[in-house]
Structures are given as structure tokens and as C-alpha cells.
């Protein structure tokens, strides 16, 4: 009876180790603190109406940023530091603490940490940030008011959140995560070698958020292909939209592969099937093939929007039209196509014959061709331009340096015999981090810094932004160049301990120092945001076009109104807004606007989806079935609901536009005539101390 009711749950599943207790206290404490804050400020209704149930892609985009940023700091980044600390302490001549042979993490715990680090960074940090950017910016760039399906948008977001909760769930219930590496290769990930619930949490957090991603990708494709402003042909779209389109077409192609593969490994574990088992006919190598057919395109899904974004940044801050738009876009398309046909390079060492290995090696190498073309178009754009070194442009220059490391080592790795040495060494790990950090993460930072004024109405503090950038560059060079070196010395990845005689320890120590410098950089990025909020008035963007932008998102006020455009623009060329500025912005005409209503159905469906997964992790079958039914009922209720829109009349639109204009002008007049430099770090620290002392003195958060 007990087994029917609560499946395999037991008292043992509750937190009883230092990190599960720590994690539960942290997350639990955070949730409770948030709840208290919302209650005291009476903001529950506001949160629900304005944010959680919103279908506005701008709001959903910001929510993606918040969740992704939180996961970057609280999980992914923290795990990186934990790993570097262990490896710095893990030499065989060092003592062991907290149950470890050397260092402070047991082998099993260490293996769980790098698995979680990989899953979280790829699925919940990188994908979250990219989806946030696409959500916010693409509709604005193509002259649309919303995505094709607002419902799918909010559903996709909340499924992503359900995945986030699932990947953190083990702190509260279960006590362990998968220890298989982020892609959970079989047969290590099968029931025989990974019997615990950790692997099941991996399966379901990835599966649920993966379905959210697929729905989101369908949505973005529908939007880009069907909702562009009149006159905007495909060949006039901005580069970021193109990068997003290529990325989402790839996503729609390969995420179903992930869905199917995760189901198959789930069946092996739950129903004792034999897809990837070592006995009874299972074929573990097939898992490797299937998962990498998804896995390789995935990293290009992440980087293609970044490429597009950098193209726009280079063009805008060089005050020059993109050199050879056609080659640039074909480059993006070329990268997407090649990326779908190279997956075997992840397992050259599994023993395929020379013909197969050589084929995939050559295909992999060919990706360098369109990538190089992209870089050449950027160079040609800068030549003959007037370049301003704003923070986004700095991130671009940093991206080039770091990403090139990754690109060059990538082609080195693409040579199969060389890969026989490099495979699974730290050289490999340094390679892909150079690409993911240099390309995706720096791209996200550049994008957020670039579009921040559009999202908030004021730009970010440039000074502290520069400090953060340099921290990242110095930190990166300290944490990843030693990683290349120690990889060449023969260090494999995922080692919690190693021979003192190998001479690797000093390099691990350098990596740790680099990681700390990066952490300082991240802290400075947070400070940058806070300092910008403090200096909001000074940094105010009155025109909606603080950089001299070229695409349509800069033609709307900052922040954009809920309906994006009062009048859908007519597009006649690339760099549509630049054209409009040159030829004169057309007069406004107002019309009725159909807006989608908020809906909580995304939240409810995702809660049910979560419990389906949770039920299956713990073999609580009734819970899984009931939750599945619940999700289906919610889907039916939502899809058969015909009343999902409301209308803003033309008169109301006109009123809102005029009010916004008045408010902007008032704010602009109010702009303080203080110092003409952005706040520096010392100034910020002083302000914080003064504020803190004030709080203590007057017992008030801020002066009334």
C-alpha cells in the first residue's frame, strides 16, 4: 500500500548530507524570503497579473533572463568554483576532508557536480538567456506585436521553469543527482550502473524543458516566417533575426531526437527494455549516436543568435552598413547545415573505421568556412567605419579573442588521429568552454548590454561594465589557458583526484584563481545593473535610439509599449530604421490593436508536467497518471477557449502614445546635471555603505 501511495519515496530521500541540507536551506530560505517580501509589500496580485500570467514576449523575455541569471550564479557558476576548488586540492599528496580521499568532495559527489553543471549551463542558463533575447527582440525587429502563439510562449517558459525546479529537486527529495556526465552516456546511465533517482531527475528535467524548447522553436519559426512587417522580405531581415531563425529551425529539427532518446533511456530504466543495455541485445553505441545527433546542433543553436547579434553590434557601433549582408547570412545558413552533419566527431575514439572518421572530420572542418566568412564580414564592416568602444563593442572584441581559441582548437580536434589524443582531456574541455563562454555567454552579455536601454528606458553604467569585462577576460585567461596546457600534459576531464607527481596541481590552482576573478566579474555585472538603476535618471534614454541603431526595434519608445508598434511600419530596405531616419519617419496613423489576454494555463500545465516527471522519478504511478490527465484537461480548456484576445481601440492607442511621449520628455527635462561620468566602483560602494547605515538608523528601506 505504501509503495502504491508514495512509490520509492522514503525518509532516506530527505536531506541528510551537508550539501543537500545546505541546498534545501538556501532554496527554501529564498522561497520563504520572497513570499514574505511579496506579502509585506502586497505584491502577489501584481506579480501574478503583470508578470507570471503575462503572454507579452517582452515580459517573458525578462523572466527568462532572471531565471537563467539565477541558475548561472546559484548553480552553474557555483558548481564551477566547487570543481576548481576540488581539483586544486585533489592532488594525491593532499589530505581529504568531509569524507573525500583528497580534497573535500568525494568522487561520487564530484561526478554529480560536473553532470549538473553541464546540464544547467546548457539547458537552463544558455538556452534561457537566448530564448529571453529572441522573445524580447525578434518581434520588435520584424515589426510584429507579439509571437504567433502567445499561449505556446508562456507554456514554453513555464515548462522551462518546471525543468529548473526538477533539476534542483534532488536537494529536497532524493539527495543525489546523476553522476554520468551531462549527456549521460549509456550504459553508465542505465539502471544497472546508475540505479539511483539522480539519473531520473536528469531525464525529466531535460525532457520537460526540452518540450518547452520545441514548442518555443515552432513559435519563433511561425513568427519570423509569417508575421514580418509588410515589405520586409526574408532578405531584408536583421542579422539577429536570421541567426534566430536558423537556430530555431535547427532546434525544431533536433530536439525531437532528444525527446525520443530520453524516452528510450527512460523506458530502459523504468520498464526494463533493452535499447541501450549491455545484455539482451541492447546497443549502447546507439545512444551515443542519437544523443550527439542532438547534442552537436544544440551548441550551434546557442551560438547562431549570438553571431547575428554581434553582426548588428559591429554594424551599429562602426556606424556602417554591414559589408556583404548576403555572405553573412549565407554564412549563418551554412553553419546551420554543416552543424547537422558532424555529430560523430564527438566519438571518433569509439572505433568507427577510417572512412567514417575521416568523412566526419572533413565535414567538421568545413564549418570553419562559413564561420570565417562571418568574421571577414565583420572585419570589412569595421574598415572604413567610425568605431565607438561601448561595452557591447568591448564584448565583441573579447568574443573574437576567446572564440578564436575555441575555433582553432576545434579544427585541431576535428582531425581524428589528433582527437585520439585530445578526446576527453582537459584540452577538449577548454576548447568547448572557449566557444560557449566566448561565443554564447559573451554574446548574451553583449546583447543584454546593447538592448538594455530598449528594455528599461535607461542604459547601463559603462564604467562598471568595463571593469566587469576585464575581469572576465583576465579570469578567462587564467582559468582556461592553463586548462589547455594541463590537457596537453595528459590530464583527462572529470578527475576528482590525480597523481602529485604529474605536475598538474599548479595549473589547477591557477584555474581556481581565474574562476574567482570571473566570479568577481559576475558580481561586478550585478553591481553594474544596480548602479544603473540608482543613476536611472542620468542614464535615461529619451529617444528610444541611444546608439544610433539600424533596425526596427530602435524605432519604438524605451521601454516598448505592450503592443510594440502603434503603427506597423512599412519596410523598404535592410537596416529598416536607418532608412526611415534618412528618409524621414512617416506620420503615425492609429488603428485598433488586438492583444492576447494573460493566461495562467501555461503555469497550470507546467505544474502538472512537473508532477508527471516527479511521479515517474519516484515510481508514484498514480501521481504521474493523475497529473497527465490534469495537464490534458488544462490543454483542452485552453484550446477550446475562444475568448483569448482583447482590443485596444485606435483612440486608446493614440492616448497611450501621447502620454508616453509626455512622460519621456518630462523625464528628460528632469535629467540631473550631475557628474558627466557614469558612477564608478568606489562611488557605488560608498553609496551602499551610506544606504546601509541609513537603514539601520531610520529603520526604513528608503526615504519617503
Amino acid at each position: 500500500m505504501k509503495e502504491f501511495l508514495i512509490g520509492r519515496l522514503s525518509m532516506e530521500a530527505l536531506p541528510h548530507e551537508w550539501f543537500t541540507i545546505g541546498g534545501s536551506v538556501f532554496f527554501g530560505g529564498l522561497i520563504i524570503a520572497l513570499a514574505i517580501l511579496l506579502t509585506v509589500t502586497k505584491r502577489w496580485g501584481w506579480l501574478w497579473k503583470e508578470w507570471l500570467t503575462s503572454v507579452d514576449p517582452k515580459k517573458i523575455g525578462i523572466m527568462y533572463f532572471i531565471v537563467a541569471g539565477f541558475m548561472l550564479i546559484a548553480r552553474g557558476g557555483l558548481e564551477a568554483l566547487m570543481m576548481w576548488l576540488q581539483q586544486a586540492l585533489g592532488s594525491s599528496d593532499m589530505p581529504g576532508f568531509l569524507g573525500a580521499t583528497h580534497g573535500y568532495l568525494s568522487a561520487e559527489h564530484f561526478q554529480q557536480i560536473f553532470t549538473a553543471h553541464g546540464n544547467i549551463m546548457v539547458f537552463f542558463v544558455a538556452m534561457g538567456f537566448i530564448f529571453g533575447l529572441i522573445n524580447y527582440i525578434v518581434p520588435l525587429q520584424i515589426g510584429a506585436r507579439d509571437l504567433a502563439s502567445p499561449f505556446l510562449n508562456t507554456l514554453g517558459f513555464w515548462l522551462y521553469v518546471a525543468g529548473v525546479v526538477m533539476v534542483n529537486m534532488f536537494f529536497f527529495v532524493g539527495g543525489e543527482y546523476a553522476a554520468t556526465g551531462w549527456l549521460a552516456v549509456a550504459p553508465l546511465s542505465g539502471a544497472e550502473f546508475s540505479p539511483g533517482t539522480g539519473m531520473d531527475y536528469l531525464i525529466w528535467s531535460l525532457q520537460i524543458s526540452g518540450i518547452g524548447t520545441t514548442l518555443g522553436a515552432i513559435n519563433f519559426i511561425m513568427t519570423i516566417l509569417r508575421m514580418r512587417a509588410p515589405g520586409m522580405t526574408l532578405w531584408k531581415m536583421p542579422a539577429f533575426t536570421w541567426g534566430s531563425l536558423c537556430s530555431m529551425v535547427m532546434a525544431v529539427t533536433v530536439f525531437p531526437l532528444l525527446t525520443a532518446t530520453l524516452f528510450l533511456i527512460f523506458f530502459d530504466r523504468y520498464f526494463d527494455t533493452h535499447f541501450f543495455t549491455t545484455t539482451l541485445g541492447g546497443n549502447a553505441m546507439m545512444y551515443t549516436n542519437l544523443i550527439w545527433m542532438w547534442g552537436h546542433p544544440e551548441v550551434y543553436i546557442l551560438v547562431l543568435p549570438a553571431y547575428g547579434l554581434f553582426t548588428e553590434i559591429v554594424s551599429t557601433f562602426s556606424r556602417k552598413k554591414l559589408a556583404s549582408y548576403t555572405s553573412n547570412i549565407i554564412g549563418l545558413i551554412g553553419v546551420s547545415l554543416f552543424a547537422l552533419s558532424v555529430w560523430l566527431h564527438h566519438f571518433f575514439t569509439m572505433g568507427a573505421g577510417a572512412d567514417i572518421n575521416a568523412f566526419f572530420g572533413v565535414m567538421t572542418m568545413f564549418i570553419a568556412i562559413p564561420t570565417t566568412v562571418l568574421v571577414f564580414t565583420w572585419i570589412a564592416t569595421m574598415r572604413g567605419g567610425r568605431i565607438r568602444f561601448t561595452t557591447p563593442m568591448l564584448w565583441f572584441l573579447g568574443f573574437i579573442a576567446v572564440f578564436t581559441f575555441g575555433g582553432v582548437t576545434g579544427v585541431m580536434l576535428a582531425v581524428p588521429p589528433a582527437d585520439f589524443q585530445f578526446h576527453n582531456s582537459l584540452f577538449l574541455v577548454a576548447h568547448f568552454h572557449s566557444n560557449v563562454i566566448g561565443g554564447v555567454l559573451f554574446g548574451v552579455f553583449a546583447g543584454i548590454t546593447y538592448w538594455f536601454p530598449k528594455m528599461s528606458g535607461f542604459r547601463l553604467n559603462e564604467r562598471i561594465g568595463r571593469y566587469a569585462f576585464w575581469c572576465w577576460m583576465i579570469g578567462f585567461s587564467l582559468s582556461f589557458i592553463p586548462m589547455y596546457i594541463v590537457g596537453l600534459m595528459g590530464a583527462t576531464r572529470r578527475l576528482d583526484t590525480y597523481d602529485a607527481a604529474s605536475g598538474w596541481q599548479p595549473f589547477y590552482v591557477l584555474m581556481l584563481i581565474g574562476g574567482i576573478v570571473i566570479a568577481v566579474g559576475v558580481a561586478l555585472q550585478l553591481v553594474q545593473i544596480i548602479a544603473s538603476v540608482i543613476q536611472k535618471r542620468r542614464l535615461h534614454d529619451p529617444t528610444g535610439d541611444p546608439w544610433g541603431g539600424r533596425s526596427l526595434e530602435w524605432s519604438v519608445p524605451s521601454p516598448a509599449p505592450s503592443y510594440n508598434f502603434a503603427t506597423i511600419p512599412q519596410v523598404t530596405s535592410r537596416d529598416a530604421y536607418w532608412e526611415m531616419k534618412e528618409r524621414g519617419i512617416p506620420a503615425r496613423t492609429y488603428e485598433d490593436i488586438h492583444m492576447p489576454k494573460n493566461t495562467a494555463s501555461g503555469i497550470y500545465i507546467s505544474i502538472f508536467a512537473f508532477f508527471v516527471g516527479f511521479g515517474l522519478v519516484w515510481h508514484i504511478n498514480w501521481l504521474a497518471i493523475v497529473s497527465l490527465i490534469g495537464a490534458i484537461v488544462c490543454v483542452i480548456v485552453r484550446t477550446f477557449n475562444d475568448d483569448t484576445e482583447y482590443t485596444i481601440t485606435a483612440a486608446e492607442v493614440e492616448k497611450m502614445e501621447k502620454a508616453k511621449l509626455a512622460k519621456t520628455q518630462a523625464q528628460h527635462a528632469e535629467k540631473d546635471t550631475g557628474p558627466d561620468e557614469d558612477m564608478g566602483l568606489i562611488e557605488f560602494v560608498k553609496l551602499v555603505i551610506i544606504w546601509a547605515l541609513n537603514v539601520v538608523r531610520t529603520r526604513q528601506w528608503r526615504n519617503r
Binding site: R226, F267, L280, E591, H594
Partner: protein, 199 residues
């Protein structure tokens, strides 16, 4: 050039319809890709019987043929129902789609019978890799059929309750797309699993 409110409403709805149809096609492609994985897996594993019986010894070709004919017929009735829907003929819609539903149930019953027999004789998904891939490939199709039937049932209920309005016609269009898609996938299953087992 001022448009009347009614015209702009219709245009808005037409655009929305177009988008939904397009999006649904994209979704069907993702579903097809998922099936592609299952077909590939079946191709790799169908020989791994670990000494047990192969498909030719376990499958009943007549039964598979019957299932195919039933499903093909249901696609036909679905198509006729769709024509009736576009004509706004509520009673014909109910008749033809109910027929489709019943044919779908018949298909499902035959399939469940087949599964039941195999499991009863000890050939379960956990017996070997061949059976794992067989049950999952055909079973996934079966689950899609169940979803389609359920979707059909709910939609017909709403047709009865609300009458045949434009939104429901659109839903029926998506549903019939889904149903035809499942029929096509079944043709592949019939060929690759049931026919090629005897090759």
C-alpha cells in the same frame, strides 16, 4: 482606405488561422522526426532477438493488413467529414467523424489484442532489444492514435454543444491533418515492421 471593423476582424482571424495551420505543420514535422528516431532504432535492433523468435514468427500479416485497411478507411471518412465541415454541415460532420472514431477504436482494439497476445505468450518489451524496439515504435503510434481519438471525441462534444462554428472547423482541420499524418506513419510501420519481417 478605411476597412470596416468586420473585414479587419476577418482578416485578423484569417491570418491567425494561417499561422496556426503553418505552425501545426511544423509540429507534425517534429513528431515525424521523433518517429524517424524510433524507425532508426528499430532498424538497428530488429535483429537482436537473442535467440528468440523474429518478427516473421510473431507477426500476423492478415491482422496487420486488416489494421491498415481500417486506418486507411478512417482517413477517408475523416476526409469526407472535413469536406462536410467546410460546407458547414453539422450533422454530416458528426456522422463521418464518429465513423472515423469508431474505425480508430477498431484499429486500436486489434493492436491491443496483438500486444496482449504477445505479452501473454511471454514476448514482452523487456524480453530483448527487438521486442523493445517493436513495442515502442508501434506503441508510440498507438499512443498517438489514442490521443487523436480523444481529441476527436472532445471536439465532437463541443460541436454538439456549441454548433459548428469557425473555430471548431479550424480545429477539425488540424485534427484531420493529424489523423492523416498518423495514417502515413502507419504505412511506414506496416511496410518496415510487418512486411519486411518476411523479407
Amino acid at each position: 482606405m478605411a476597412e470596416s471593423v468586420a473585414t479587419s476582424e476577418l482578416k485578423h482571424e484569417a491570418e491567425a488561422n494561417d499561422r496556426v495551420m503553418f505552425g501545426f505543420w511544423v509540429y507534425l514535422m517534429t513528431d515525424l522526426l521523433m518517429f524517424a528516431v524510433l524507425f532508426a532504432v528499430y532498424a538497428v535492433l530488429h535483429g537482436n532477438t537473442v535467440g528468440g523468435p523474429t518478427g516473421s514468427q510473431l507477426f500476423s500479416q492478415p491482422q496487420a493488413l486488416a489494421e491498415t485497411l481500417i486506418l486507411l478507411t478512417s482517413s477517408f471518412t475523416c476526409g469526407v467529414g472535413m469536406i462536410a465541415a467546410r460546407r458547414g454541415n453539422k450533422n454530416q460532420v458528426l456522422a463521418w467523424f464518429t465513423l472515423t472514431l469508431l474505425l480508430g477504436v477498431a484499429f486500436l482494439s486489434l493492436e491491443l489484442l496483438e500486444f496482449g497476445e504477445l505479452i501473454h505468450e511471454g514476448y514482452t518489451p523487456s524480453s530483448n532489444a527487438f521486442l523493445s524496439s517493436f513495442f515502442v515504435l508501434v506503441g508510440t503510434h498507438g499512443l498517438h492514435i489514442i490521443s487523436g481519438l480523444f481529441w476527436m471525441f472532445v471536439t465532437l462534444l463541443f460541436v454538439v454543444m456549441r454548433g459548428l462554428n469557425r473555430q471548431l472547423v479550424r480545429k477539425l482541420a488540424l485534427l484531420s491533418l493529424f489523423w492523416h499524418f498518423l495514417d502515413i506513419v502507419w504505412i511506414f510501420i506496416f511496410t518496415i515492421v510487418y512486411l519486411m519481417a518476411y523479407v
